[in-house]
Amino acid sequence: MDKLLEIHNLHARIGDKEILKGIDLTLNRGEIHAVMGPNGAGKSTLNAVLTGRPDYEVTEGTILYDGKDLLAMSPEERSWAGLFLSFQYPVEIPGVTITAFMKAAVQARRKAAGLPEMKTPEFLKLLKEKMAFVQMKPEFAKREVNVGFSGGEKKRNEIFQMAMLDPTLSILDETDSGLDVDALKIVADGVNALRSPEKSAIIITHYQKLLEYVHPDVVHVLKDGRIVHTGGHEVIEAIEKDGFDQF
């Protein structure tokens, strides 16, 4: 199997508080994994470390992405390498339109890959196509990023960006319980549509609901900063039935 992501003995803390206490996780190309866990297990921290948030300190362990040292890469380098990390709370960027934002992102990535700039008509065609794909109304192209968006619209915008950037590995932080069924379906459709032998995803979540729409190949249970159990779909059913205490 072709390993895409290898997390080995990952320890991380914020301030003095150690939150991740030795995580091991291996994901092969083409797989979808779910990381489930109760509140306070370290789900958000795991996502933050993968994203490259500056306030989290990795004290021990390694993360290899496609054979490269992920922790040595800046957030933008991670994106150029094909990583996409959806935010639980997407950020508003007043004054910057979705079109301007995506243009900057797409061109920067092409530049990093040594490709020439995408011509404007080609870019606009791609934008239109991907907006239609996530059923985003065309007028959103001119809206300021996430400003005045509803929760569902923000989520849709995340999945739209994911589709635009065509990542190799998507990491979706769905820790929030506040997602309604429509928003869940947007996320699920987005993930399912991008499913291919080349693409992988990790869904970090508290609730099993999303996993009814996206069927993960592997399910990990995260508890107290460690992966305490790894299995298949049966793990979701077990959690649904008896909660996290059994692990």
């Binding site: 994203t51 994106s79 990390l85 950020v91 004054g95 910057v96 301007a100 960006q161």
Partner: protein, 212 residues
């Protein structure tokens, strides 16, 4: 156009200027706006030198309207000071002010904006906004809005802020592959956008790239 400080020609025409068409630092500009007249001024100050901009506007006739916009970008050890006096002396006049600026390097910016509404100036509408972004710990911006209202039937408001670039927004953009510098430029340009005259977009962009 170079990187020198720039004052919109519309202002320059009405104020004392030197041989190069530049208003000397410290010179006071004053305007009187009569009944039904409209005055629109835009101030654009780009990095290059220190400036004092001192403007006094009298609205003396009913229904006069004034719109001021200002954009400033300061770097190095520049000092840029705005002193704006908006004096509503007649009823039913409207004034709107929006000044957005960025201070980088070790520059210092001050904005003093004073609005006076005279007792007779009923039905006045006067609005003033001044927003500042400081790019470094050494840069300094100070904003001092002042409202003096002597009439009772008026709509007046002011908003003044001094802040940093939005780290969370920068981080979000970076995770989507926008390099840190480009993300800063995008944020700075969008901040300045409401006060950027169409024909100055290019020079403002150049100046932002220089400051970031």
């Amino acid at each position: 156009m170079g990187y020198g400080n720039y004052i919109d020609p519309f202002v320059a025409l009405r104020a004392p200027q030197d041989d190069n068409g530049v208003i000397p630092s410290g010179a006071k500009e004053s305007y009187t706006v009569g009944a039904g007249e409209k005055l629109e001024l835009t101030f654009v100050v780009l990095p290059g030198e220190s400036r004092d901009i001192d403007v006094a506007i009298d609205l003396v006739g009913e229904g006069a309207e004034v719109s001021l916009k200002g954009l400033y970008l300061c770097g190095g050890d520049e000092r840029v000071n705005f002193r704006i006096l908006m004096h509503h002396r007649a009823p039913g006049c409207v004034s709107r002010q929006l000044f957005n600026g960025i201070a980088g390097g070790m520059s210092r910016v001050t904005f003093e904006g004073r609005i006076i509404v005279a007792p007779d100036a009923q039905k006045t509408e006067a609005y003033q906004e001044n927003h500042n972004i400081v790019l470094s710990d050494q840069a300094h911006a100070e904003t001092m809005p002042q409202l003096e209202i002597y009439a009772d039937d008026v709509k007046c408001s002011h908003g003044a802020t001094v802040g940093r670039l939005d780290e969370e927004a920068l981080f979000y953009m970076r995770t989507r592959g926008v390099p840190e510098k480009d993300a800063k430029v995008l944020q700075m340009l969008s901040f300045l956008s409401p006060v950027t005259p169409e024909d100055k977009r290019e020079s403002v962009e150049k100046a932002v790239l220089q400051l970031v």
